[in-house]
Structure formats: structure tokens, C-alpha cells
Symmetry: D2
Subunit: 321 residues, 4 copies
């Protein structure tokens, strides 16, 4: 372990960190009952609302875990960061930002208002649903299957977990409850933000939202982003430096829904959450974090997960600011 974890100016060893984490999990798990599992997609409603787990992965590849780290979740909005990286690698910055903006928004993640009122009518950023659907339309591949396979390969490489796949039942459940996303997609189709078949783009979108991972997978992906896109073992570039940086920037400015500003102030670590209760965080140059806690606060973030990250950040001085 590197000197990241110091307390009262003395360095902590792995056992000490592990023990502190276990204590924190116990403390913050109590908050789960004040949150609520997302249930607008029926499959999501089946999550265990008392689960709370964390994995830390340093850029050197060391892993420390505590709590309920073994039950996987679907990535949901967390996949927005990963598909953004892939789309930027596939198409280049210029093409991507011609279609999708770079600015945060005070509007809800699934809002359609700004698509109509802002000129040109492009999504404000890739972390809201409209932007992520547009990003999805830019992934290369002959058909939905090939595109999905490319996203899966990319995630498997980032996480070092070759078994990662998507949850078919969840993807179907998303598809069945996705009228708002259809509205966003057809609106963007009208304005030339997306090209191609709306149905195919949404099929791919629902499937990559349904990709499953557990805390460890999230932490490892976060560590690769923290490591400027390089593989933790081999140093091979999985994501080019400037693209890894773009991802971390969006994670700060709009990664935590309408609590991104507050999270940046209270925690100060680039992070992306999903309604399944997962959070993927990347502390630049240092470590990746994967948190899973399905009970959500009213803004859609894991209620216990955010509290846990806030305590960690304050105790170990993790804020990048």
C-alpha cells in the first residue's frame, strides 16, 4: 500500500485500513433504511436494500474490500462513463462533441426540456440520458450484437474480469419501461443528433445499462481511470490519457445526478453513480473505488454509499480540490 492512507500522520497498513473500512460499513449501513431501492424498472426493485459493500483498488493493483462485495449489480448509469470512453476512442473528440455538449445542467437526468430550448438542440452532456443515448449511437460495429460485444470486451479489459456480461432479464425490463428514453431518442433523431435506427440504438443502450459487475469490477475500472487509462499490471494503454481525463472531468461536473456539485464539495472524488446503487470513483493517480448500496437518496444516489465515501474522503484527505 502506498502512503495514501495516513491517519494522525502515521501510515496505515492494509490490515488497519481493512478494519477501519469494516467499521465504516457498519456505521453507514444503518443509513440504508432511510433510502429507497429504485423500482421504476421492475427488475431493479428486487435489489437487497440493506446491502453495502466497498472495494478499493490502488493504481498498483492492490485490492481491499469490506462489506457485501459479492452480489453484483447492473451498471445502469455507470455504463455512461464507459461507453463515453469507447465512443471517444471510436470517433474522436471532435465528432463526439459535435453531437453532445460538455456542460453540466441543473435539470433532471431524464429531462427533455433543454433539448428543445437550447440551440443547437443537442444534449448538454454525456452523463444525462439524452447524451448517453447519443453516445451509444456513436459506438462502432456492424450491428447491435457486434457493438455490444465491443462494449463488453472493453469492460472486461478495464476490469480484468473476463466473465462480465449483461443481465438479459434486466435489459428486457428496461426495454419495457423505457418510453421516456424513446421520447428522448426520437426527439434527437428529429434534430439530427442521432442517426440510424432508434430501436437499435435503444436496444444497445438498454443492454449496456444492464451489464453486471460487483464492487471489485467497479474499483478496478476506477483504478484504470485513476491510472490515466493504463492497465494496472502491464501499463498498456487501455484508454488514452486525454480520454481518461475527459471521463474523470464529467464524473466531477455531472457524475452524481443533481447532487454532483454537492458531492464534489463534500467528497471531491470523480465519481459516477447508477440507480442500481453502484458508484464507480476514480481518485486521479491514486486509486479506484467501487461501492454498492442499492438504497437510494431522493436524488438517485446510494444513500449509504455517498455517506461512506464522504467519511473516507474526510478521514484520508482524498479531495482533489
Amino acid at each position: 500500500m502506498n502512503v495514501l492512507f495516513t491517519q494522525n500522520e502515521s501510515e496505515l497498513n492494509e490490515t488497519e485500513i481493512q478494519s477501519i473500512l469494516e467499521d465504516m460499513i457498519t456505521t453507514h449501513k444503518a443509513k440504508c433504511c432511510t433510502g429507497k431501492v429504485a423500482d421504476y424498472i421492475p427488475e431493479l426493485g428486487k435489489a437487497n436494500e440493506n446491502q453495502l459493500g466497498i472495494s478499493i483498488c490502488t493504481v498498483q493493483g492492490q485490492l481491499i474490500e469490506a462489506g457485501d462485495v459479492d452480489s453484483p449489480i447492473t451498471l445502469q448509469s455507470i455504463s455512461k462513463v464507459i461507453t463515453l470512453a469507447l465512443a471517444l476512442m471510436d470517433q474522436g473528440e471532435q465528432k463526439v462533441f459535435e453531437k453532445i455538449g460538455m456542460e453540466p445542467t441543473g435539470d433532471p437526468f431524464n429531462s427533455i426540456v433543454k433539448l428543445e430550448t437550447i440551440s443547437p438542440n443537442k444534449p448538454l452532456n454525456p452523463m444525462i440520458n439524452a447524451g448517453a443515448i447519443a453516445v451509444t449511437s456513436l459506438i462502432k460495429g456492424a450491428d447491435v450484437e457486434e457493438k455490444l460485444e465491443r462494449i463488453l470486451s472493453f469492460i472486461r479489459k478495464l476490469s480484468g474480469n473476463s466473465k462480465i456480461t449483461y443481465n438479459k432479464k434486466m435489459a428486457r425490463s428496461e426495454e419495457e419501461t423505457a418510453n421516456l428514453n424513446r421520447a428522448l431518442a426520437f426527439f434527437m433523431k428529429e434534430h439530427g443528433v442521432i442517426e440510424g435506427e432508434v430501436d437499435h440504438i435503444l436496444e444497445l443502450y438498454f443492454k449496456h445499462c444492464a451489464i453486471e459487475g460487483c464492487c471489485k469490477d467497479l474499483a478496478r475500472i476506477g483504478a484504470v481511470l485513476a491510472n490515466n487509462g493504463k492497465d494496472l499490471q502491464t501499463g498498456e494503454t487501455i484508454i488514452p490519457l486525454h480520454i481518461a481525463r475527459i471521463c474523470k472531468t464529467f464524473m466531477v461536473t455531472c457524475g452524481m445526478y443533481n447532487a454532483s456539485g454537492e458531492f464534489a464539495i463534500r467528497v471531491g472524488i470523480p465519481a459516477k453513480s447508477g440507480v442500481s446503487g453502484g458508484i464507480l470513483a476514480a481518485l486521479p493517480f491514486k486509486l479506484g473505488l467501487g461501492v454498492i448500496g442499492p438504497a437510494l437518496d431522493e436524488r438517485g444516489n446510494s444513500i449509504a454509499g455517498v455517506a461512506l465515501l464522504e467519511e473516507m474522503s474526510q478521514r484520508w484527505n482524498f479531495s482533489i480540490f
Copy 2:
């Protein structure tokens, strides 16, 4: 100089840095002519549109300057960061964030729409006009004079420049063209966001927007923020750590008007701009930057100043992400 400035993996000395900065100034000054000096406040329209200067101040207190660094500008929106720090010190986080939000917004800095449509009707963040007016209402003091004196003392301490004062002609010019700010203030008064006399709050607001400084002043204030709020010489705490951090966070999420997201991606340094063409930036733990270039791009930021900072960030790897 510390090892911040390395090029081709070899450390640069002060003379080398100075010389590189001079070259950059020459390059980017050419962009001034594609921008436009703000003139909605008549006094602002008198600025020299070809001016471009930069000061760098390390947390150790070393200063390097290049270009037109001697003509002062009025702080305009840059004062929003400083009054936020003071209000947080005066009233505490809880009181301040009861009245003003923490979230970025895709709306213009002077927009009134969200004040009406968001519930509760509070300004989304302290970097937009509505939020900054609300912050101004929270500065302690018996009357406008005493409050202004407290802001001035605070800025003098931060910049180490005891001569800093405000430009009376500019303050008057702001007052005469401030109907939109009056609308924002009365709207907030209606909704209980601000208390006290609207006219007094706005008088103070116009005066602190008219405080004058030059590149060096901006750079030194930035360096104190970068130094976690501590005086560069004495180490005395001028701004508590957590408040300095809050300021830097808002500078990233909403410091550059509606180009904050793009600036975070392309430059990656916490920064606040003003329509006078100034930019105050703070690279955490490392240095402060003060840039002045009155010709603005269409989003209200110094056109040459942003280009200069982007080149510096890429050359010397300054991004915090």
C-alpha cells in the same frame, strides 16, 4: 521553483519558464482580435482589447510574470469566489447553503428562469448572479461601508496588496445598468432568499464587483486557495481548509460561465473568470494564476486567456483530473 515545470522530463528554471511564457503571450495575443470587450456596462467598454498578461505565483510565493501585467482590471464575477469564502467564514456552511445551492446549471449566469421553476426557489449556486447577490447579503457588518471594508481587508490580506480598493466610476456605471440584477434581487426577496434592503445589498454587490486588481493580485489570491487557504509566507490560515476547498470546487463546476464543463476538460484547473477579462485560477497544492485579457469569447471568458491556460495546462500537465 519546484518541479512543476518540466518539459521533456527535464526541470525548467525560472528564466526558461519566463521565456516560454513570453512566447505563449505573443502567440495567443493574436487571438485578442477575434474577441470582444464587454460593453453592457459602459465603463467596461473602455478596456484595452489587446491586453494580455499572466502572473504565476507558486505556493512557495515565487512569482513569474509575462505580458501586460501592470494594468489593473475590476474583478467583476471573480469577486464571487472571494465573497463566497468570506460569507462562509461569517455564517458557516449550513446557513449559506440553506440560501444558495451547490449545483451547476446549464442556464446563463444572469438567468431568472430557474429561480421560478426550481423548488425551493433558491439560486442553484453562488457563481451565478442570483447566487452571488444572495452571498453578498450574508456578509457581516453594520452597514454597506463596514461590509465593503471587510471585503477589501480580506482581499488585501489574500493578495498581500494593501492598496487594493474599488473603482468608484465602475461601481456607479454598474449601478446604472443593473436592472436585471435588481429583478433577481427582488425575486429572491419575495421568496425569502435574501433579507434586508435590496438597495443596500446591490450597492455592496456593485462595489465589490468593482474592486480592482492586476495579474499579480489574482495570482496571489489563487496561490492562497491552492495552498489550502494558508498565507504563503507565514502559513497563517486566512481561509479555513474546507472553505478553500469549497471555493475551488465551485470554480471547477461553475467558474467559467457556460463553458465551465469545457474548460474543465480542456484545461482542468479550478478557475473563475470575470467579464472584465480576468481569470483567477488555483492549481491545488501548487500554484495560483492570474490572467488578464479583456477581449472575450461568446461565453464571456477571456478569449486569449483561455487559450493561454489551455496551452500551459497541456504543456505542463496541470489538469487535476
Copy 3:
């Protein structure tokens, strides 16, 4: 009485009408308790919530009254129709509609959103607060006093009641609770919709909103509008035909706040309501109506007054559609 009032195809005489009206008052008065007196202006809160009265005035000048017709109310938004007529007579259609639009809006009467989002930034119509403030700024006169005197003379002429004046206590109460109207006015001042001193315009606005009248006055003004602007006795033109028509048109498209569409469907008589619980209605070519019932529904219209007018319209086939 003319043949307006027929029931089962036989004409009603005045006594019969009177008796039917008394019955209706009894029926609908019971609804008062389900409404709520406006209290955002403290003086308004003192109104008698159980009051319900109606006056009918035919274009021949006959008057029938029933219920509580003697307690006056302040006109509030009803004065918007009268000042519109005067401003049109003072400045002509072209000048007035350069500053104020002609279109209904789905937004609340005191909303500021559209002022910002619509281009050009002019109020959508003269029946919302912003539009009425702009109309007020167009009334001719050397100063507030003279302008107010002109409005009062005009209303006295329309109502045939030389004693009409404004309620000073109410005007003061309006002024003290008028931050939203100030916000609207300064916003319009910024965009050139209004000229002159905002404070003077608002003083005049508050005073004409506080003009007092009772059912009879409202009915007589309505009858003049119904009579194409001509005095009921002398036939003298008080309001030119085309201006009387404009007033009646706005009363249909936007006279009843955000229930204008529904009122047009259910009642079908041009009408303007005020938060004091008054309604002034004008059935073209036939009669004027004045209703007072201070208990309001959730959209700001007299709850019993609307019900009464709906029954009258259906019974006597008053709809213009």
C-alpha cells in the same frame, strides 16, 4: 327587459329574473366555504369570505341585482382591462402591441419565465402582471397623480359612478408585498419594454389595482363594453368600438387566469376576474355582469362566482360560441 332571459321558450319578466337570481345566490353561496380568500396582500385577507352578489346591467341600462351587492371590493386584476382600454386610447394599437403581445399563455399570471425565454422579451399579453405593468407605463399624464386621476375619471365615466376612488390602505398593502412585481418591472426595464421610473409605474399600478367598486359598478362597465363602448344613456362613445372589442377578446382568451380556457368552454362570456373575488363580464351586444365573491378557487377566481355564471350561462344560453 329584452328577450335575453327566456326559459322554456317563454320570456321572463324582471321579477321572475330577480327571483331566479336570488335562488341561485342561495345555492352557490354554499360553495364559498370550499374556497379561500386571498391573503398574500394582508389587506385582502380581511374580505368577507361568505359574500356573494351579482348585478346585471343590460345595454339598455336596466339593472337587476341579487345577494350581497353593497360591499365594494378593490378591482385588483379587473383594472387590467380598464387600463388597457385607456392605454390603447392614449397610444394607439400599434404602440401598445409593440410593447405587449396578444397571445394567451399557460404560465401563471405572475410568472417571469417567458419574459426571459421568449424573443423579443415582451409580456405575452396585457392580462398577466408583466403585461399590465407595461400597459400602466403607457397611460398618459404628467405624473403619477395626473395619470391616476385620468384612470379614475375614465372608470367613473364607464360606471356612471362619480364617487369611485381607490383604497389607500390597500394600495399601501400592495406596495409592501410587491417584490415579485418589482422583479417583473426591472426585468422589463432592462429589456426596454417599459420606460420611465419603475417606482412611479409601480405606484400607479398598485393604486389602480386598489380602486374600489361594487357589483353595480362592475356590471355597468361590463355593459358599456357589451354596448361596443358606447354610454348606455347617451350613446356617446366612451371607448372606440375596436378597442372595446380588443378588451372583450382578451377577456375570453386570458381573462380568468389559468382557467380562461375552461371558463370559455363552460361559460362562454368575456370576463375578467381579480383576486379580490370580483368578476366583470360583458356579453357582447346584450349585457354587463358584476359578481363579487371573495372566496377563491385554486386558480384565483371566485369559486361561487364562477359557478353562478356557469349556471346563468347554461340556463339562459349566454355563450357567445
Copy 4:
């Protein structure tokens, strides 16, 4: 001919009216060149931009025509009035207005903003696209074919023209360019405003927009509305009185897109326009009007058609206000 058409207080005979109409057509036809044929649906772009024709049909069934009255157009938005009448007859007022509001809006006819920002999320009225799609979903019938057949029968009965049908090429062209309508429909599906298959509802919507008629057909439908829903010859009730009234009310408050308020002021006749350049108008108790002039003004109404109606209204005092 009844006494509707008087000039200088003397009654005009049919030949005189005809001759005046011919002159007006000549005058206003010159305005066609300042307008523009709609071309967002490719088939619409093929219209003859110099066409201008008018039919007048009295409630007694007399018909006077002038100009280019023989080329049919597709109804486009004009079908919104007819399907509203049928849906009200099919489902009753309560059911229809549970799903669709009664209030005009200052927003564009194809706007989605209010669907998101207004609570409950229902379309403001049946004359905007969202509202008309919701109305379409309420037409009774086993399948699209049967529902369309019912709409066609209804129009044939209203117009007395048994040959009326829809233009298949136009319906297909609409379908191919209808992403915005799809967005609106899926948004409403999400919020429970519409039930059933979005694709089927839109198919029916596109087909009824593509129903073809010429001036005479429009005038006759208008005359039935003017005649309180009764057949001009037989007196049979085709549309119940209160439903005919509802239709005419919406025609006033929101029949002419975002120029409804201005049209009510300048013309004062209940009317509904379509982007094909048609206008169907109904002067209560008196006559129906059908105008076709495909060159549109910037708000989507027939530029020469509106001017023609304005002159007619002023000359013959047609305003209902």
C-alpha cells in the same frame, strides 16, 4: 342570403357578395408571394403557393365561392377540431378532459416542454400536437382501420361530401418525418396520458391529418359548427350543441397556433388552420368559411387567407366580440 352581408347599411345580394369576394381574392392573392409553403413534410412542399380560394356556406346552406376553390388540400391540423368532436362524442367530456387540458399556451404547437414541466403531465389543450395525439387515442374502434373509417364517415356527414378520403402518399410522407410526434407520444405514454400502442395511435393520427378536402368541404363543416352541430338541410344533430360549442371555443383560444390571440383580436371568428394552408372558420349561428392558401406566414397560418378573413370581418362586422 340572410342580412349578414350589409354594406353602408344596405343589404347585399349574392351577386354583389360574389363580386366583392372576387376583388378581395385578387387583392390578397398578391400577398402569397411573401409567404412560404410548408415543406417539413416533403409532400406538403408540392402545394401551389399562389393558390387562394374561399367558400362561404350559410347555416341555411347557401354557398358562395371565389378564387381557386377546386384544388383540395390535406386537413393537417384542421382535423384536430373534427377528431376532438368525435372523441368527445365517443368518450364524453369528463374522460377527454381528464387526459387533455382546456387552456391555451404560449408555446409552439409541437413543443414538449410543458408536458414535462406542468403537473399533471397532460397536454394543455387539444389543438397542439400532443393534445391532438391524445385525442386520437380516444377515438373508438376495433383497430386503426375501423377508427379511420369512423373519422371519415363523420367528416363525410359534416361536409355532405361522401367522396372524402385521405391521401395515402401524404400519410406516408408524414409518417416518415414524424420523429417529434413520436417523441411526444412516447412521453405521454410514459405519463399515462395515452394508452395502447403508440405506433397505432400515430398511424391513425397521420392518416386523419392527411384527409383531403376543398374550400367547400371546409365551409360546410364550419357551417355545421356554426349551426350548433345540426345538419344544414335536415336539422339532424350531427354534433351535440355543447360539443360544437367546445370546438368553437378552442378555435378561438388556440385555433391559429401562436397567433390565436392576434387572430381573435383582428378577425374575431372561431377558426382552425393547418400547415397545408387551409382555414376552417365558424361564425356562430351564421356561417361557415373555408379558405385555402398554401403560402404560410411565420406562425404557420395561410398568409393571404388570414388577410382575406380580416378584411371580410371588418367589412361585414363578423367579430363575435
